[in-house]
């Protein structure tokens, strides 16, 4: 294409505001979500809010540490998607399995992996959750049943299927939480796995985190159907859509989905509508979307929604909320200090863990 024929793009970027979502507030809380609030109670709901604040603060600090060159390589941030990970994993048991893509910081923190072990991993230190050998995209935890952050789009999907197969093989009531993005749903391996999960009735919870963009490509430009739950129909698989910006919706949906499957295993596809505030990775200025669109999502910010509700409930006043934020900030600073002070791996670490003994 010659420069003369290049169409001006700047003004052509469409705005896609959040489609759904009544933002959380006591006044418009449905009976279902009211029951969810009661079930969670003050302590748990405040705890979940704290996790969301922690993810936000952790990611902001990561950005800063990247700019200071303490963190290198690829870095994919989770800001904007906090409600999804915290709500959905909050509805799971500690012995359930989870696997995700390279955008794995939020998932790892939601599973309760200490921020310092994650920050140390990002710094390439031996105290990191993967001993400094994985980096941002490859957080693993045997203790928390996190089967990895995975770098190949969709590559984690059959790994999660394997964990679901294990539950079926051993007759346990565990479920496997398989997170992936709207880009990954077009990979063949999703469709192969969906077919097998349905065929064998495996407890595989396929969660497509639809943050609207697979790198720079809006999902409507990559998928033949724009309601991603339709992809489940070809596999006779149940599906539902969830407002991924809404913590209570995410929690309540997963609680129902998981409970049913513990008694009677079957897979499900959940499309969580969400949004990432940053570009695909730290090196992406995200010029393919408009400022107005980002702002529209920030008006239904998942953290603000929960904070407002907690305030209305009288469970977290302004003073306590500020204290919570200070505590979280300190936790992240401690994580940075821990990462900073931790040693790099010894040279012999290079050749360890290539093969199991």
């Amino acid at each position: 294409m010659t420069p003369a024929s290049a169409a001006p793009r700047k003004n052509a970027i469409p705005i896609h505001p959040p489609e759904q979502g009544v933002p959380l507030s006591l006044a418009n809380l449905s009976r279902r979500l009211r029951a969810t609030v009661e079930e969670l109670g003050r302590e748990r709901l405040t705890g979940m809010y704290r996790q969301m604040v922690l993810i936000r603060a952790f990611e902001q600090r990561c950005e800063q540490m990247y700019q200071q060159r303490k963190i290198a390589g690829f870095l994919h941030l989770y800001m904007g998607q906090e409600a999804l990970a915290v709500g959905m994993l909050g509805a799971c048991r500690a012995d359930d399995y989870a696997v995700t893509s390279y955008r794995d910081h939020g998932i790892a923190l939601s599973l309760g992996i200490p921020a310092k072990a994650l920050m140390a991993e990002l710094f390439g230190k031996v105290t990191g959750v993967s001993r400094g050998k994985g980096g941002s995209m490859h957080f693993y935890s045997k203790e928390k049943n996190l089967l990895g952050g995975h770098g190949i789009v969709g590559g984690q999907i059959p790994i999660g299927l394997g964990a679901a197969f294990r539950a079926h093989y051993l007759g346990t009531d565990q479920v496997s939480m398989i997170f992936f993005g709207d880009g990954a749903i077009n990979q063949g391996v999703f469709h192969e796995a969906a077919n097998m999960a349905s065929l064998w009735r495996l407890p595989a919870i396929f969660i497509v985190e639809n943050n609207r963009y697979g790198m720079g490509t809006a999902f409507e430009r990559a998928s033949s159907v724009h309601d991603l739950t339709q992809k489940a129909q070809g596999y006779a698989m149940e599906a539902r859509q969830v407002d991924g910006m809404n913590l209570l919706e995410c929690y309540a949906a997963l609680r129902e989905v998981v409970e049913v499957r513990r008694r009677n295993p079957s897979p499900i596809l959940i499309e969580a509508k969400t949004y990432r505030y940053r570009g695909h990775s730290i090196s992406d200025p995200a010029t393919y979307r408009s400022k107005e669109e980002v702002e529209a999502y920030q008006r239904v910010d998942p953290l603000q929604q929960v904070r407002r509700l907690l305030g209305e409930l009288g469970w977290l006043g302004d003073g306590a909320a500020q204290q919570l934020e200070r505590d979280v900030r300190q936790e992240v600073l401690d994580a940075v200090a821990f990462a900073e002070e931790s040693p790099f791996p010894e040279p012999e670490e290079r050749s360890r863990h290539v093969y199991a003994p």
């Binding site: 399995y97 696997v99 990191g128 959750v129 993967s130 001993r131 400094g132 050998k133 994985g134 490859h138 693993y140 935890s141 045997k142 089967l147 990895g148 995975h150 770098g151 190949i152 590559g155 999907i157 059959p158 790994i159 999660g160 299927l161 394997g162 964990a163 679901a164 197969f165 294990r166 093989y169 496997s176 063949g188 391996v189 192969e192 796995a193 077919n195 097998m196 065929l199 360890r352 863990h353 290539v354 093969y355 199991a356 003994p357």
Partner: protein
């Protein structure tokens, strides 16, 4: 010791059955392994014996069922994933290379992947280019994978049992044309460690290094020809490509001072190139002639018989190579 005469495919079947009896976490998964009784009858009778939970027929979805095996292995099971042909393992190349091979390392040692991926590899009889890949060099290049290529029923059984007990992902490559080969093997249980070469035929004039079907070609076709000319060749079978028993190969070369390396795969970046490089380093001063490699030609394998024959290593090619290292041309 009691001996039993078994076919290659039966030896593999015995290995899998014995290990499934021994460990409830071992299961077999693949295309046609159950109700069809195995595309090459390697899993014959196993569905009836172990049931559909442990002998699992899959859809034709190699990437996902291979990945499923990796996830199952990471969470404590010990899958045997059968590829109807190792050619189809290329559909699962991402899962094997990105996940099976690297997970233990990337997780800092937290998640071993105890898994066997097995099936026939190499050229069969006129099945053309897409069904004739020699995949061993592709996989052997990847740290984290082991690659095993037995040539006899005895080796097949002992090595497969060891591979199933290994805590690493093992690519176990059989050969369709060897499934019907028979041999007397012990009826009692035995294992063969990975990474031990075996001297199949002793000799003093030249070392021939070959594995899988090429080892048969040499033993049945090449050695008689050489004997006619008074050449006593030693045939060494590495049996496992990775880990490679360099010392086992070097011991023979130090004795004969000459070697020919034969492989069914292509020349460029082939397994023989690695073996040659290591032998040059390990026994340069022992060599009386440059090593010679015999390999498949550098074209996709054609269907037509004369063209296929011209592409694959033949008896005459190896005899010629032996004469070259002996300076008898």
């Amino acid at each position: 010791m009691t001996l039993q005469k078994v076919l290659f495919r039966e030896a593999l079947n015995q290995a899998m059955c014995e290990e499934m009896e021994r460990d409830a976490n071992v299961f077999l998964m693949g295309e046609e392994v159950g109700e069809y009784d195995g595309p090459y009858k390697v899993s014959q009778g196993m569905l009836a014996r172990f049931g559909p939970k442990r002998v699992v027929d899959t859809p034709i979805s190699e990437n996902a069922f291979c990945g499923l095996g990796i996830g199952a292995a990471m969470t404590g099971l010990r899958p045997i994933v059968e590829f109807m042909s190792l050619n189809f393992s290329l559909v699962a190349f991402d899962q094997i290379v990105s996940n099976a091979a690297k997970t233990l390392y990337m997780s800092g040692g937290q998640f071993p992947v105890p898994m066997v991926m097995r099936g026939p590899g190499g050229a069969a009889a006129q099945v053309a280019a897409q069904h004739s890949n020699c995949v061993e060099s592709y996989f052997a290049q990847v740290p984290g994978l082991k690659v095993v290529m037995p040539s006899t029923p005895y080796d097949a059984k002992g090595l497969l049992k060891t591979a199933i007990r290994d805590d690493n992902p093992v690519i176990f490559i059989e050969n369709e044309l060897l499934y019907g080969v028979s041999q007397e093997i012990p009826a009692e249980e035995y294992l063969i460690p990975l990474g031990q070469a075996h001297v199949r035929v002793e000799g003093s004039d030249v070392t021939l290094i070959a594995y899988s079907r090429m080892a048969h070609l040499l033993e049945s076709g090449v050695l008689p020809e050489l004997r006619k000319e008074g050449i006593r060749a030693e045939l060494v079978d590495p049996r496992t490509i990775k880990p490679l028993d360099l010392e086992g190969l070097a011991r023979s070369v130090r004795k004969t001072h000459r070697a020919v390396i034969v492989e069914e795969g292509h020349r460029f970046c082939g397994v023989g190139a690695e073996i040659a490089d290591r032998l040059y380093s390990a026994c340069f001063d022992d060599l009386d002639a440059p090593l010679v490699r015999v390999t498949q030609q550098e074209n996709p394998l054609p269907y037509s018989k004369p063209l296929e024959t011209a592409s694959l290593p033949q008896v005459a090619d190896v005899v010629q190579a032996v004469k070259q290292v002996l300076y008898r041309l």
